[in-house]
């Protein structure tokens, strides 16, 4: 009856961690089977590389969103923020090329400014939410409009394109591979691992969960609630800026159409992954799988002709609901098993 410390040691726990992500994983595997049966090309190396690379953007952003949501917040501005950062990066790199010519420094300058912008934008969201005491939904709805408009303004309604010689240097960051794995995927893996460690192996992760679960408790536990919440938005900004850094070399441009609806996709990835929208409980591993699920759905729809193009959205909707249902189901089964 009594639980000794040894019984509760490693094996039991890592088993439960597996169970937690098992839900989304089951859904992902089911999707893969569907994909393969519709078109064997689904599991070709090229296609898998495509899926992984594409999911990197949303995935990286969603890892950041996992922290914001776990701490009880929400960030609707990520898509616009990405467009804005991409736009400013391009403007800065283009002027740098004009002033100093092209070199690897041009790209580094671009990346540096991206990081600064991301952190700054995240800070603004965090500051307005915590110190301004305005609901996160409103703050980030507002900044969403602001960033989207600013990029349209900078681009004069059109497209900001990266100077072609700078692009030549920058291009490999999206298109090259290391050990046959595309660089964006490496970045995604790194962000996911760092995110997982932050969430599960540092006090910061604990604080996010505590704040999302009960802000009073966190406050009474001497946690600097405002600071931690702001940090989650900054982390989110950082993730957006990383995603933008690997996004820009892909098409070398930014416009008002960049990153539209990424916020919804990112939040969906987080929630499909098993994090609760109300906060208190975050799963970075689940988020990664959530991002893969979303990308895979889009990919599968492109690989088959059986569904009217007009109905893509419907199929997507049904699959998302089904995937989450499946996940809840298998989770419940898992729990029952664990109880036995």
């Amino acid at each position: 009856m009594s639980v000794s410390a040894h019984e509760t040691g490693k094996p039991g726990r890592s088993f439960r961690i597996d169970l937690k992500t098992a839900g989304p994983l089951v859904a992902l595997i089911a999707l893969c089977i569907i994909g393969y049966s519709l078109n064997p090309a689904f599991l070709s190396e090229g296609n898998i590389a495509n899926i992984l690379t594409r999911s990197a953007f949303i995935g990286i952003i969603a890892v950041g969103a996992t922290f914001v949501i776990t701490a009880g917040g929400i960030d609707l501005s990520v898509g616009s923020m990405a467009a804005f950062i991409a736009g400013v990066m391009i403007i800065i790199m283009n002027s740098a090329v004009e002033a100093f010519g092209v070199s690897i420094w041009t790209v580094l300058l671009g990346c540096g400014s991206s990081l600064i912008l991301g952190i700054g934008a995240g800070f603004i969201n965090g500051f307005l939410t915590t110190k301004g005491k305005i609901e996160a939904f409103i703050v980030t709805l507002g900044t969403m409009g602001i960033y989207r408009s600013l990029v349209t303004y900078f681009a004069d309604g059109g497209t900001l394109s990266l100077n072609s010689s700078a692009r030549e240097i920058y291009r490999p960051i999206y298109y090259d591979s290391i050990l046959r794995i595309p660089i964006p995927v490496w970045v995604f893996i790194a962000v996911a691992i760092i995110g997982w460690v932050l969430m599960n192996r540092t006090a910061f992760g604990r604080y996010c969960m505590a704040i999302g679960s009960n802000e009073h408790v966190a406050r009474y536990s001497a946690i600097k609630v405002d600071r931690v919440k702001t940090a989650t938005y900054i982390l989110q900004g950082l993730c957006v800026s990383l995603a933008t850094i690997i996004y820009v070399p892909r098409l070398g441009s930014a416009s008002s159409a960049t990153g539209v609806l990424w916020e919804l996709e990112a939040i969906a990835a987080v929630i499909i992954g098993g994090t609760m929208l109300k906060g208190g409980f975050g799963r970075v591993g689940g988020t990664v799988i959530g991002a893969l699920i979303l990308t895979a759905i889009g990919n599968i729809l492109n690989l088959t002709e059986i569904i009217s193009n007009y109905l893509n959205g419907a199929v997507q909707g049904v699959i998302i609901i089904a995937a989450v249902y499946l996940q809840r189901g298998s989770l419940r089964a898992g729990k029952r098993k664990a109880a036995e």
Binding site: T8, G9, Y220, G280
Partner: protein
């Protein structure tokens, strides 16, 4: 202990002429209070007397309106938000303060995680947590999430959390309100160990025998005023009660009126099983008070929740007035005249962020409708009634329930349940956190209800209460019935023997009447 040195040793923490108002409403008036290393200092007083407010001030969570705090002889302004913990002032709050989604180990270490190079030392934290829980004889998994624990287990986790911290002053606001005798004993053993090490302990409780047992000095508050601070040797339970309530307390328990032998059977439960519950059988007659005793986690709550349909029944049968019932929602049991009052007033009983009136009538809104709309006047009347009947005290009409004192929340919850005018009442820890004076009133109300012909199940960890009120006592252990006691058998020793598993109930002791 402190008694030898305590008188001369300087106070570690002291409040000097502390006053406190919330807005315009004064709650504390010029209170002097001090505590010495190694001393156990109890604070007692009626519900709403200002005890919790005083300790919040002593731990920095509230700032006094006037007066000063001295710590280690220095006048200090205590930092807010639990930061005083870094100075060695550790608090267990009256209202459970745990984040529901964290694990037990996470909660115990929240805010002062063990880290190495910035990474959590998870195994170490888990092992330490397990060790602390073990010394308290608490059987919870350090990896369990708080939201899966019962209220009592949560309380034990809070205690574990507090005693695991490096306290110089340990402040506890009614830590034992939901604990039964056995848990209280192990807990007290830890307190004694800590105070022997020189930790100063401030302790609030409404259980006067505990005060007698543990406290070196007792401070009595009434209506925000300091009445007296007296040494243990000058105390008797009667004198404490009198100081608290301001009047003589006689007959805490009303006389028992045995129900008629041929009183109709209202509730009959056979082999009821549910998660955490195995094959419970009993019967309940009109006019009867059936006590449920047992250690924490013994399944008393599970039994009640299985009957009213809050948890899913896996086997057995429940009959209400002879007809089989299988409730799946509380609304059904309430409609059938069977009401259950939870002991988890914060998590399941009351909406903390709204006022008194919506809370009181939430269970019985249908009663307050006139042609489909809510009748505010009728709700106001109901509140008026409940305030009088249960002596609910709030300083300001507009307070949210979360701002009421703990005992007054409990009274409000009682009022809320009684609004439904049930015929069968299951009360889970009905006097949790209630002062002796009001307790007496409530006991009389319970007895009167039984005399009126209602049937009552009284789940309580306060053994005296079960003994003093019940006609029969069902003792539970590990989810099963350990035995049933009747008449003269009902006594502390017998109950403990069943509860601890020393004695098993044989077939001959099965409920007969």
């Amino acid at each position: 202990m402190a008694n030898a040195a305590g008188e001369t040793a300087p106070a570690i923490l002291a409040a000097n002429r502390i006053s406190k108002s919330f807005g315009e409403i004064p709650v504390l008036f010029s209170i002097d209070f001090d505590i010495h290393p190694g001393e156990v200092h109890a604070i007692i007083g009626e519900n709403g007397a200002g005890k919790s407010t005083l300790i919040k001030i002593l731990s920095g969570l509230e700032q006094p309106t006037s007066g000063t705090i001295t710590y280690d002889g220095q006048t200090v302004t205590l930092p807010p938000n639990g930061e005083a913990e870094a100075m060695g002032i550790v608090v267990i709050h009256q209202e459970l303060l745990l984040a529901e989604h964290l694990t037990v180990a996470d909660s115990i270490f929240l805010g002062r995680e063990l880290t190495r190079n910035g990474f959590l030392r998870l195994r170490e934290m888990r092992e330490q947590a397990a060790k602390i829980l073990d010394t308290l004889h608490v059987h919870v998994d350090p990896d369990a999430r708080i939201n899966t624990l019962s209220v009592a287990d949560k309380q034990m986790v809070e205690i574990a959390k507090a005693i695991s911290r490096d306290a110089r002053v340990l402040i506890m606001d009614e830590p034992t309100a939901v604990l039964s005798v056995a848990e209280t004993e192990t807990f007290f053993a830890q307190i004694r160990r800590l105070s022997a090490k020189g930790v100063a302990v401030i302790f609030i409780s409404h259980k006067l025998d505990e005060i007698m047992e543990l406290a070196d000095r007792v401070t009595v508050l009434r209506d925000g005023q300091l009445i007296a601070t007296v040494g243990n040797q000058d105390l008797t339970p009667d004198s404490i009660a009198q100081m608290m309530v301001g009047r003589e307390l006689s007959n805490l328990y009303p006389p028992k009126h045995e129900p008629d032998v041929d009183a109709p059977l209202l509730l009959s439960v056979t082999n009821l099983s549910a998660p955490g519950l195995k094959e419970i059988s009993f019967e309940l007659r009109r006019g009867e008070i059936l006590g449920f005793a047992g250690l924490i986690g013994s399944g008393r709550t599970a039994a009640a929740e299985a009957i009213v349909g809050l948890i899913h029944r896996t086997g057995g049968a429940v009959e209400l007035r002879g007809a089989p019932v299988n409730f799946t929602e509380v609304s059904q049991s309430v409609a059938a005249g069977l009401a259950y009052m939870t002991k988890d007033r914060k998590g399941k009983g009351l909406l903390l962020n709204v006022g008194l009136q919506p809370n009181l009538t939430l269970l019985t809104l249908a009663k307050h409708m006139r042609s489909g709309f809510l009748d505010g006047k009728s709700e106001v009347k109901a509140l008026d009634r409940a305030v009088r009947r249960f002596d609910i005290r709030a300083r300001d009409a507009s307070v949210r329930v979360g701002q009421l004192s703990g005992g007054n929340q409990q009274k409000l919850m009682l009022g809320k349940m009684m609004e439904s005018e049930p015929e069968i009442i299951i009360m889970d820890e009905p006097t949790r956190g209630i002062d002796v004076g009001t307790k007496q009133q409530i006991y009389h109300i319970i007895a009167a209800l039984a005399a009126e012909g209602k049937a009552i199940i009284l789940i309580s960890s306060e053994m005296q209460e079960v003994i003093g009120l019940s006609h029969r006592v069902l003792v539970m252990r590990e989810g099963r019935m350990a035995g049933v006691l009747e008449g003269a058998e009902i006594g502390e020793a017998q109950i403990m023997r069943y509860a601890a598993g020393i004695k098993q109930g044989g077939d001959d002791e099965r409920i007969s009447a």
